[in-house]
Every structure is written in structure tokens, then in C-alpha cells.
């Protein structure tokens, strides 16, 4: 491997990041379904020819994919090695979450890139398709006890052989989705993104030569590793543990422990999840690739300047116990993976806070609250309103937490209330911040939200919720207080009720005029409540974000002396 001068390296780093960014842009523009086009639930990158490690990834893709894509490429490398028939112009496609991580809605395309007859690297594209079959439209089945009830499963297969697209695969795919046009549009978009990536790689290698670019890729990995090591060097040595719980798996009402031991020794770090709960019956299991990818997401939140390159993970060991819900085996259901990985991120933050409280934020609200309200209109047409809801972020050394943010694993925004009301027979009685929901602290957490949704349809409706944090609150750090828990209630003829499983329930029958109410958690606080400036407390009280009684109880009465 030849040496590369640091300036060419800077330029090539930017050029390759841009290739991935352009692939993102190509898919966002071409994709049919809004989950990709608007919420950007997709990702593209360049991956190592032998190991599948992430070399470069686009900036606009979803955070969780930054770690998980390497597994998709590795799965293809293994498959190709077993078959022994990898060729220029091949394109593999699959959605199997037990091999590639996340869930079955994410369709992965992997394409080898050849230069002068030799494999140079892989390009890959992942996008969240609108529907891939299964029991429930949109593939979020809270009652699933295996993957077969979640969606159609495609293992890594060749969509194209040496440049020749196999129409049979496309026909099978399109027959297994409720939305074939949408699927075809997304598939075309992903293929277009890969084509553009190949074209740009050709141009780059023409300009700089394969050897220089290969040297740059090698050097970027070293650099990422060096950056990570230097960050770890700055932290104290030691071992810190943190644990937290999921309410239950939606089927058996038992809390599920997620535990981490974080150990830093000089320039190395271990994240050991030994002690976490066993594989469970319901869909909060996650596959090993998802677990490793989530560790990466948590680390990147702690060190946001680190590049999206596998070199970052070289000084880090992730230990995941066999048989746990963090290394679930096929065919365990994984549709609710979001809740589990959010809890993983929480415990990693909590452990980091013990090592270096200034480097992390307190826990965010920690649940995506997938709420579905569905029914039939008087003309017989079915309707399904399915959405995720926001909550508070954690406080940090710099500021209070953000009110009503999105989940740390995502960057998706919430649809506007007016769009939902125009599309479905519902009315939001309330769409507001939730006072007294923030964890107390020198910098308190952000506020959660209150959404109260009334059914307007005369035939009534049926609701289901897949949430978390109904029994275990988001934690504060550095002596900060916990946020409040998630509270879900629904209106019946004899008053308001709560689900027996706290945050998960299906089959809730609502009449016209009855409502459901979701009060989402606020974020945890940073620093001791007694260190909060009295005028900040007084301002929160004046703004109605903290009640007088709560302020007195949590912060003492000094704020009452503040004259504004």
C-alpha cells in the first residue's frame, strides 16, 4: 500500500463522502414512498472489499444505518464466497433482519465495484419500503411471535447477474407487497443510486488512480481509529455499569433488563451487555448486527465529530451474551426493535455519564410510541392512522434538553396535525407540551408532549399502541432527576382506562366522540436540581412548564424571591 499525502487525503475524504451524499440525494428524489423521500429513512455508502467494513457513508441517511450497513455487505460477501460466483455487474438484494439488522421493512441492495477486473469495494443502498407483506400493513405487528407474522423474508439473492437484471426476483417482490407501485419506485431509486455511485467511483479512480484511492481508504480507516483512540485517551480509565428495563415484551408481563458495563483502559473501550435479559416471546428482540450497530450509534452521539468509518470501532469490543434478547435467533420477531435499541442507548449514556458526565446528555424520552387508530368509514372504506410521537430530550452541561424532539436513532419528523385530521376522521383535542414532565436538574430535561385524539367517525375505531417507558422513567445524569413516565389512557363509556401492560395494548374499541390520550416522557435532567438558577426556575413556572408546587418540591423556594 503506497503512502498518501495528507492533502490528497483531505480532498479524497471529501470526494468519497460526497459520492455517498449524491447517492442519498438520488434516492430521496426518486423514491416513491414518503418514508424515504421525506423522512430520509435510507442510507448509502462504500464498504471494504474483503471485510465489508464501512469506509464512507452519506451524511443524510438515518443514524442507525451508519453502523448496520456493514453487516448487510458482510452477509453478501459470505453468500458470494459460498457460491463462488461473484461477478462485475452483480446486485444482491435482501431484507432478512437476522442477517442484516434492523427490521424487515429495510430493503438492502449490495453491489460489488470492480476496477480493471478486480474487486475494489462494495456499494450499498438501504431504504425503508412502505410495505413488504406480512400480517399488518406497514409491517409493525405488535402481536408477532415470529418473523413470518411480520413480513415477507428475502435472503441475499442476486437481483442482477453480471449486469442482467433477473425479472423473476422483481415479480416475486411485487407479488408480496400491498403497494407494488411504491415498491417498484423505491427499487428503481435504489438501483439509480447504485448506478450513480459506480459512475462517480469510475471518475474518481480515473482522476486519482486506483492505488491512490485505495491508499486513501486505508488511511481514512487508520485516521478514524486514531481519532477514537485519542478521544478514549482523554477519558479516565475505569469500569462503570448501568442498567435499565423495558416494561415488557407485549406478550408476557415481565420487565426485561438491559445492562451494560463500560470499561475504558487507555485507548480501548469495552461495552459488555452481559446480564441483559434472555430472548423473549414478543417483538422487542434484536439481532446481533442491530446490537453492534446500536453501540456505534451511541458512541457517535457521545463523540459527534467522529467520521462514519469502521475504524472507529477497532479499539472497541462489544460483548453480547448468547441467548439474550440482544442476539436473538431466527425466527424470533424483531419488529419492535426500536424500543430495545433506544434502551441500549440510554444505558450506554448512563454508564458514560459516570465516566465523564460532561460528554453526554441525559436520557431522552426513550420510546417511539407507535400508535395506530383504524376503522371503516360509513362508505365501507378502511382507514389506518399510524404514526410515532415525540418526547423530551435530556439535559446536558450546555443547556436544558430539547422540548418535543425525535428519537436518537432517527431524524424523522412528525406529520402535521392538520394533515392527519384531513386524512383521517380524528380531531386532536390537544397537541401540546406536557408540564412537569421534565427531569429536574441544573439543566432540566426537555418536556414531553400531550396528544389527545378524538374519534370523529360514527362507526368508531380500534386502536393499538406499541410504546415503552410506562414503568421505568428516563434517567437523569450527574445527579439530575428522572423524567416522567409514559402514560397512555383511553376513554370508555365508564371513564378513562389504562392498559394492563402499561405501554402496549391492542384491540382498544373506541366509539365516536371517545379519545385516546398519550402523555410522553420528558427527558432526564443534568446536574443537581439545587444548582439550577432560581431565575431559570421562576421562568419555567411563569411559562407554566413547571408548576409552583413541583418547583417548590424539587428546587426549593428560592425562585419565589425572583422578581421579573
Amino acid at each position: 500500500m503506497s503512502d498518501i499525502d495528507p492533502i490528497t487525503l483531505s480532498v479524497l475524504a471529501g470526494r468519497m463522502e460526497q459520492i455517498a451524499d449524491e447517492m442519498d440525494a438520488t434516492l430521496f428524489r426518486a423514491a416513491f414512498n414518503p418514508i424515504i423521500a421525506e423522512a430520509h429513512d435510507a442510507s448509502h455508502g462504500l464498504y471494504h472489499a474483503q471485510t465489508g467494513d464501512t469506509l464512507v457513508q452519506g451524511k443524510s441517511g438515518l443514524p442507525i444505518f451508519v453502523g448496520v450497513m456493514a453487516f448487510a455487505v458482510q452477509a453478501v460477501i459470505e453468500k458470494a464466497a459460498a457460491d463462488g460466483d461473484l461477478a462485475d455487474g452483480d446486485i444482491y438484494i435482501f431484507n432478512d433482519a437476522h442477517i442484516g439488522g434492523t427490521h424487515l421493512s429495510d430493503m438492502r441492495l449490495v453491489r460489488p465495484y470492480y476496477r480493471d477486473g478486480e474487486l475494489f469495494c462494495y456499494l450499498a443502498s438501504v431504504g425503508h419500503w412502505h410495505d413488504v407483506g406480512g400480517a399488518v400493513p406497514g409491517n409493525y405487528n405488535p402481536a408477532a411471535t415470529d418473523v413470518f407474522q411480520e413480513a415477507f423474508i428475502l435472503p441475499p439473492v442476486k437481483l442482477a447477474r453480471a449486469g442482467e437484471v433477473n425479472q423473476d426476483i422483481i415479480d416475486i417482490l411485487l407479488r408480496n407487497t400491498r403497494l407494488p407501485q411504491s415498491a417498484m419506485g423505491d427499487l428503481n431509486g435504489q438501483l439509480g443510486a447504485l448506478d450513480l455511485g459506480i459512475k462517480r467511483m469510475d471518475e474518481l479512480l480515473d482522476e486519482y488512480g486506483a492505488e491512490t484511492v485505495a491508499a486513501a481508504l486505508e488511511a481514512l480507516g487508520h485516521r478514524a481509529e486514531q481519532l477514537m483512540r485519542s478521544e478514549l485517551q482523554d477519558l479516565p480509565d475505569g469500569r462503570w455499569e448501568a442498567e435499565d428495563f423495558l416494561d415488557n415484551d407485549g406478550i408476557v408481563d415481565e420487565p426485561l433488563k438491559i445492562k451494560v458495563a463500560l470499561e475504558i483502559k487507555a485507548d480501548r473501550m469495552t461495552l459488555d451487555f452481559t446480564g441483559s435479559a434472555r430472548q423473549c416471546a414478543g417483538p422487542v428482540n434484536i439481532a446481533l448486527p442491530t446490537t453492534v450497530a446500536t453501540a456505534y450509534v451511541a458512541i457517535k452521539h457521545v463523540f459527534p465529530a467522529l467520521p462514519a468509518n469502521a475504524g472507529v470501532m477497532r479499539p472497541i469490543d462489544v460483548i453480547v451474551p448468547e441467548g439474550s434478547l440482544l442476539s436473538a435467533k431466527f425466527p424470533a420477531p424483531t419488529g419492535g426493535y426500536t424500543e430495545t435499541i433506544l434502551r441500549m442507548i440510554d444505558v450506554v449514556f448512563s454508564a458514560f455519564a459516570k465516566a465523564a458526565p460532561d460528554r453526554v446528555v441525559a436520557n431522552a424520552y426513550g420510546t417511539i410510541n407507535a400508535l395506530s387508530i383504524a376503522g371503516k368509514r360509513s362508505n365501507g372504506q378502511p382507514w389506518v392512522m399510524f404514526s410515532f410521537y415525540g418526547g423530551g430530550h435530556g439535559g446536558s452541561i450546555e443547556t436544558d434538553g430539547l422540548n418535543h424532539g425525535n428519537a436518537p436513532i432517527s431524524t424523522a419528523t412528525i406529520p402535521p396535525m392538520e394533515i392527519l385530521e384531513a386524512a383521517y376522521p380524528v380531531m386532536f383535542r390537544t397537541w401540546a407540551l406536557r408540564p412537569d414532565s421534565a427531569g429536574a436538574g441544573m439543566h432540566r430535561g426537555g418536556l414531553g408532549a400531550v396528544y389527545e385524539i378524538e374519534v370523529l367517525e360514527e362507526n368508531g375505531a380500534e386502536a393499538f399502541l406499541f410504546g415503552e417507558r410506562g414503568r421505568f422513567a428516563p434517567k437523569g445524569i450527574a445527579d439530575g432527576g428522572n423524567g416522567t413516565m409514559n402514560i397512555f389512557s383511553y376513554e370508555q363509556d365508564d371513564g378513562w382506562k389504562h392498559p394492563p401492560l402499561a405501554s402496549k395494548m391492542r384491540g382498544i374499541i373506541l366509539r365516536q366522540g371517545q379519545a385516546v390520550r398519550l402523555e410522553t416522557p420528558g427527558g432526564g435532567g443534568y446536574g443537581a436540581a439545587r444548582d439550577r438558577a432560581p431565575d431559570a426556575v421562576a421562568l419555567d413556572v411563569a411559562r407554566g412548564m413547571v408548576s409552583e408546587g413541583e418547583a417548590d418540591k424539587t428546587y426549593g423556594t428560592d425562585w419565589r424571591g425572583v422578581t421579573s
Partner: protein, 687 residues
């Protein structure tokens, strides 16, 4: 009326004035320092340097950053909100986003304090049905409370007021009766479009700007009139069109990107006059590099923009993509040994190290100074007498050279290489995002520093040529003079095409056309032509992503001929096919919004009047060593404005003019076209 047309662009550092003498077609420019906090002093000073008698002026068009600055610096008025019960926090909850993807830090303060967001009983449903009539006595109590709390302006924000404005209109009428000034904004008046956060945010920000912007524009107008001015005073909007000053006082939010928009308009006009309909503009300022794309003579409009996190403005704006790579952007080496440029910037104060005003970290400009590309003895702008080359070199050595083990010149070249690569990246991405190949475009640099980097953009992006306007430093002021008058309107329709009430749609179109024409009629300026255009935001049912569908609508004597469902479906199919390459079999077509634009085409002046006259000198006025790649080249320096039409200068060469330095690298040549623009292209391409 003949006389002088004046364009004034107030930027962060300079106020530029462009004067066109309509009688003989001659033009002149002036550059004076921008005054702060009140920009009107610099504005009047700049005009005063060109014209003694303000009564000779027929039109003053102003591109202003007053609104932009008030938003970015959070210096708008104390305002209040009266809103639907249950929705007081919409402005603070945004669309559930976060400031940065990684790190999860940062909070958000909305422009309206929660104490000043008051709810009243009222509710309209999505179909326009009024579920709860508005309680007007509650509205009055709320308005009184807001007054007592010191609010200078108020915004009325009701759910679904785009579908049926009755409740909101009643409330706003009640408030206007009692409010002590004109600063009352209603969401259905500002933006009758579905999506509450975007509508509420745009309306609240309008209220937030109104006292400041209307006060500023009022002071300017008063001062102009006092000086004898009796012409039309107009303001550039973010959409690249101009509006009358009283419209700007009512809708100040439409000025949010006024200044940069004027620059893009001018760039488009200059480029198409010179024969380039496809051009990418690059405006290099102190802290940023702003890229905009013009395809087939049309600049791209984006339907909304975030001025800052959570501060969303939904009015059509010229699309400008900004990256943090300006002249003042700081070069630094990270812990992994990689050279980075920005996003931190020294701006224009303290500015680059060479300015000697207190910054000691090297910037892109410092690299240009050290390499001889900028003349240290004659700094642009006239604020400084000379630049400190030694200090710039020391800073580059300390912060870039030493950690990378490079000598001063290699380190300076490295800074430029990385900066150029990032700028080129922005150009490529802007093109690809819109589905264009950047190689089909010409590059037009403007702003103070852009023309130093034109050659690098050709090499990096593979663009065939760059066109440097004759006066790149006053492009925005020039844009003010040539911009058309334009008003945009929107109305949410939200219906299937099959159930469309065509008459109702035609009535909205008529209303938009009438309002737009009335504004043109009221303007005391002449128009060569008037245009009304209509677009529908449409999609298949089940899609949230819409396609803009231009609808050709005949007008007779100002009356709209009602379009048919068939016409609309056909127009949709054409637009959809063009965007996605295929149609959806059995897809049900939906209409979401009507968007209308009424444009009054203002007379254009011939850019040839700006061209060099006669036969100036083609001889270099001096020469100096300039560093390219790895060696010094003795480089001829020309007085750019003196070069006659048709001159061809081979690189390496430097063309200087008072506010800009044009660099022609070895292997490139610069040709003066008939407008006085410099066309930079590879030597072998010359014909």
C-alpha cells in the same frame, strides 16, 4: 417618467448602489460602508454620492437584510399569539426535529414566549366545518392581556383556517379594532395553506418582523421623500421579484432572503444575455459560499426555508445552498491529522489574520494573500491600507504547516485545495439533487472572493467555462434594478380531482389574479408585460410528496376561464411522468394546493451599456509573482475595467478592479465579451 433607476443592496459589510440613467442608458456604481444598527444612513449616503437631486429618481429598489438579520440575531419585536384551544405549543414543538443529528445537544427558544401564547375557545375541522364558534369576548380579553404584557404585534393562529377562515377572520377583525397599531397578522391572510406548524411559524415570524422592518422602511421612505424623491420605492422579495414598500410593510416575512435573491436574479440575466441559459452561481462572502442554480434561464424556487433551527418560513424563495467555506473560514488540522476548512469563521471582523484585527488562525483569504493572489498593497473595500502577509504566513505555519510537516507555500496551497474541493462539492450536490449534470452549466462567481476560485471550479467540477460579470461586487444591486414585480399566492384546495368543484377553483384563481393585478396597477412603474401563472400541488392518493403541476389557464378580459377536470388530469400526468418517469396505473389523483404568481415584467436595460467603450489599454499595469501548484510564476496584472471588448488574456494573469480580483490560472484564458464580462476557459477551447 424618465430619470434614474436605482438599486441598493445593503450587505453585512458594504452598501452597494447601482444607478441606471434611463435617458442615456449609462450606469454607475458606488460602494459605501454599511451603517449599523440603522442601515438607512449608509443607504442614503450611497445614493447621495451618485445623485444630488433625488427628484431625478424614478425608482428605488432595495434588497435588504434587515429582515434576515432580525431573524438570525433574534432582534424582532415582543409579540403575542392568540390560538386555538389545545394548540398553544405548536410553535415550540415544531415538527419534532432536532438541531443536529449527532450529539443530541441544544434546545430551542421560540420567538414567542409561552406566556404570550394565549388560547381561546374555537375549532374548525379539516373539511371547513366549524365545530366550535369563536368566543370573541375571549379573543378581546386575550388581546388586552397581550397588550398589558408589552406585545407590539400579534398573530392569530387558528386550526384549519385555510379551509374556512370564518373564525379566524372574526377574531382578527375584533383584534384590529382594538390593537393600537397595524401589526396584526392572521394565518389565513399570510399563508392559507394546510400544515399548522409551517403556517403558524410563517405568520408569527411575520409579526415578529413587522415593527422592525416596517419602521426601517418607513424611515427610508421618509428620508427619500424629504430629499425630494417622488418615485416608486420597492423592495426585493425572497422569490426574486419586487413588491411595493407598503406590501413589504404588511408582509415583511417575504423579505427574509431579499439580498441574496437579487444577486441570483442579476446573475441569471447577465448569463442569459451572454448566451448561457444554464448557470450555477457561487457567491463567496466572508463566512460562506452560496450556490444557486439557474436552468434554462429560470432560477430554482424552494417552497420553504429554515432561517435557523425551528424558524421555518414558507413562502417561495430562490433556492440558495450555503456551505461554510468563505474567505474568513478557518483552516485547522484535527486530531486525526486531517486538514479541515470551517465551519468556524473569522468573518469580516476580525477577519483573516492578514487584516491585523485580532484573529490569529489562518483563513482561506490568508492562503490567497500568501500565494500572491491578492494584492497586499491594495486591499479591497478601502477600510485597510495594506494586508499583513507575514502574519498570515506565520499563522499558516503554526496551525497547518507544522502539524502536517509542510512549508508555508505548500500549506497555503493545501488550504486552497481543500477549500476548493468543498466548494466544488457544493456545486456538484446542488446539481445532482435537482437531477442536472453540472458539466452542462457555466459557473458564475460573484461577491468579493468568488472570482479567485473560478479556475479551480472548472478543474474540479469539469465545467467548461466561467463567466465573471463586469461588476461582480455589485451584482445584487444590479439585480434590484432588473427584477420583475411578482406576487405569489397559495390556497389549500385538498380534494380529489374527480370531486373537484371547478367553479370554486376558478374563483380562487380569479381572486389571486385580481389581487395581483391590483398591486401592479397601484405601482407607479411601467411594465412591459403582465403574466399570471397557476400551479397545482398534486399527488396520487396515499402519497404525501407532491408534484408541481403547471396549469395553462386562458384569461379573457382579466377573467379566468374555468379549467376542466380533464385538463387538470392531463397536466398532472405530464408533470408526473417528467418527474418520476412513470405513471401509476389506477392511481387516484388529488389536488392539495393552488399556487398562483402574478408578474409585472419590468423593462430591461441593455447590459451592453455597461460594456467597456472605445479602446482601453490591453497592456499589463504591473506584474507580481503568484504561486501556482509548486512554483512562482511572474504574473501580469491588468486593470480589468480598461480592457476592451474582444481582448484575450492568457493565464497566468490577474485582472483587478476596485472590488474584485479575477485570477486566470496557467492553462486558462480570459476573454472580454461584448458586455464586458470575462469568460474564463481552457486555452485550447478558444476560438
Amino acid at each position: 417618467m424618465t430619470g434614474r433607476m436605482i438599486g441598493v443592496d445593503v450587505g453585512g459589510t458594504f452598501t452597494d448602489v447601482f444607478v441606471l440613467n434611463e435617458t442615456d442608458g449609462t450606469a454607475s456604481v458606488a460602494k459605501v460602508p454599511t451603517t449599523r444598527p440603522d442601515q438607512s444612513a449608509g443607504f442614503l449616503d450611497g445614493i447621495g454620492r451618485q445623485i444630488d437631486d433625488l427628484s431625478e429618481i424614478s425608482v428605488v429598489v432595495h434588497g435588504t437584510t434587515a429582515g434576515t438579520n432580525a431573524l438570525l440575531e433574534r432582534k424582532g419585536a415582543t409579540i403575542g399569539v392568540i390560538c386555538t384551544e389545545g394548540l398553544r405549543d405548536v410553535l415550540e414543538m415544531r415538527r419534532r426535529d432536532r438541531p443536529r443529528t449527532w450529539g443530541l445537544r441544544g434546545d430551542f427558544e421560540p420567538v414567542v414566549d409561552r406566556r404570550n401564547r394565549l388560547e381561546v375557545p374555537e375549532r374548525t375541522l379539516a373539511d371547513g366545518t366549524i365545530r366550535t364558534a369563536v368566543d370573541l369576548s375571549a379573543v378581546r380579553r386575550a388581546a388586552e392581556a397581550l397588550r398589558a404584557q408589552g406585545c407590539e404585534a400579534v398573530a392569530i393562529l387558528f386550526a384549519h383556517s385555510y379551509a374556512n377562515p370564518q373564525n379566524e377572520a372574526a377574531a382578527v377583525a375584533a383584534v384590529r379594532k382594538m390593537w393600537p397599531n397595524a401589526h396584526v397578522s392572521a394565518s389565513h391572510e399570510i399563508l392559507p395553506e394546510i400544515r399548522e406548524f409551517e403556517r403558524f411559524s410563517t405568520t408569527a415570524l411575520n409579526a415578529y418582523l413587522q415593527p422592525e422592518v416596517s419602521g426601517y422602511l418607513g424611515r427610508l421612505e421618509g428620508a427619500l421623500k424629504q430629499g425630494g424623491f417622488d418615485g416608486e420605492f420597492m423592495i426585493v422579495q425572497s422569490n426574486g421579484g419586487v413588491m411595493a414598500v407598503d406590501t413589504a410593510c404588511r408582509l415583511p416575512i417575504r423579505t427574509a432572503l431579499s439580498g441574496p435573491a437579487a444577486g441570483v436574479i442579476a446573475a441569471g440575466y447577465i448569463a442569459s444575455s451572454a448566451g448561457f441559459d444554464n448557470v450555477i452561481t457561487g457567491d463567496m462572502g466572508g463566512t460562506s459560499f452560496d450556490v444557486s442554480l439557474i436552468a434554462e434561464g429560470k432560477s430554482m424556487l424552494s417552497p420553504q426555508t429554515s432561517i435557523d433551527f425551528g424558524m421555518v418560513v414558507r413562502t417561495p424563495m430562490i433556492e440558495i445552498t450555503t456551505i461554510g467555506a468563505g474567505g474568513g473560514s478557518i483552516a485547522w488540522v484535527d486530531k486525526g491529522g486531517l486538514l479541515n476548512i470551517g465551519p468556524e469563521s473569522a468573518g469580516s471582523d476580525p477577519g483573516p489574520v492578514a487584516y491585523g484585527l485580532g484573529n490569529f488562525r489562518p483563513t482561506v483569504t490568508d492562503a490567497n494573500v500568501v500565494l500572491g493572489r491578492i494584492d497586499p498593497e491594495n486591499p479591497i473595500g478601502g477600510k485597510l491600507t495594506r494586508l499583513d502577509v507575514e502574519a498570515a504566513a506565520t499563522a499558516i505555519d503554526t496551525h497547518v504547516g507544522a502539524p502536517l510537516n509542510l512549508d508555508t507555500l505548500a500549506a497555503a496551497e493545501a488550504i486552497l485545495r481543500v477549500a476548493n474541493s468543498r466548494m466544488a462539492g457544493a456545486i456538484r450536490l446542488v446539481s445532482v439533487e435537482r437531477g442536472f449534470d453540472p458539466k452542462r452549466f457555466a459557473f458564475m462567481p460573484f461577491g468579493g472572493g468568488g472570482a479567485l476560485h473560478a479556475g479551480a471550479m472548472l478543474a474540479e467540477v469539469g465545467i467548461a467555462r466561467a463567466i465573471v460579470p463586469r461588476y461582480p461586487g455589485v451584482t445584487s444591486a444590479l439585480g434590484c434594478v432588473i427584477a420583475d414585480m411578482r406576487q405569489d399566492f397559495v390556497q389549500t384546495i385538498n380534494t380529489l380531482v374527480s370531486t373537484l368543484d371547478e367553479k370554486a377553483l376558478a374563483a380562487f384563481m380569479q381572486s389571486h389574479a385580481d389581487q395581483g393585478m391590483a398591486l401592479l396597477d397601484a405601482a407607479r412603474t411601467t411594465f412591459e408585460a403582465r403574466e399570471v401563472s397557476f400551479e397545482l400541488d398534486m399527488a396520487y392518493i396515499g402519497q404525501t410528496h407532491t408534484v408541481s403541476v403547471p396549469i395553462t389557464v386562458a384569461m379573457e378580459n382579466g377573467g379566468v376561464i374555468t379549467p376542466t377536470q380533464d385538463q387538470i388530469e392531463e397536466a398532472f400526468d405530464t408533470a408526473y411522468q417528467a418527474t418520476f418517469g412513470r405513471l401509476l396505473k389506477n392511481g387516484v389523483r388529488r389536488i392539495i394546493n393552488l399556487r398562483s404568481a402574478v408578474t409585472g415584467k419590468r423593462p430591461k436595460f441593455d447590459l451592453e451599456t455597461l460594456a467597456p467603450t472605445g479602446s482601453g489599454s490591453t497592456k499589463p499595469k504591473a506584474s507580481r509573482p503568484v504561486h501556482f501548484a509548486d512554483s512562482w510564476h511572474d504574473t501580469a496584472v491588468y486593470d480589468r475595467l480598461a480592457l476592451p471588448v474582444g481582448t484575450v488574456i492568457s493565464g497566468p494573469a490577474i485582472l483587478e478592479q476596485p472590488d474584485t480580483t479575477v485570477l486566470i490560472e496557467p492553462g486558462l484564458q480570459g476573454r472580454v465579451d461584448r458586455f464586458g464580462n470575462t469568460i474564463i476557459e481552457p486555452v485550447e477551447d478558444a476560438s
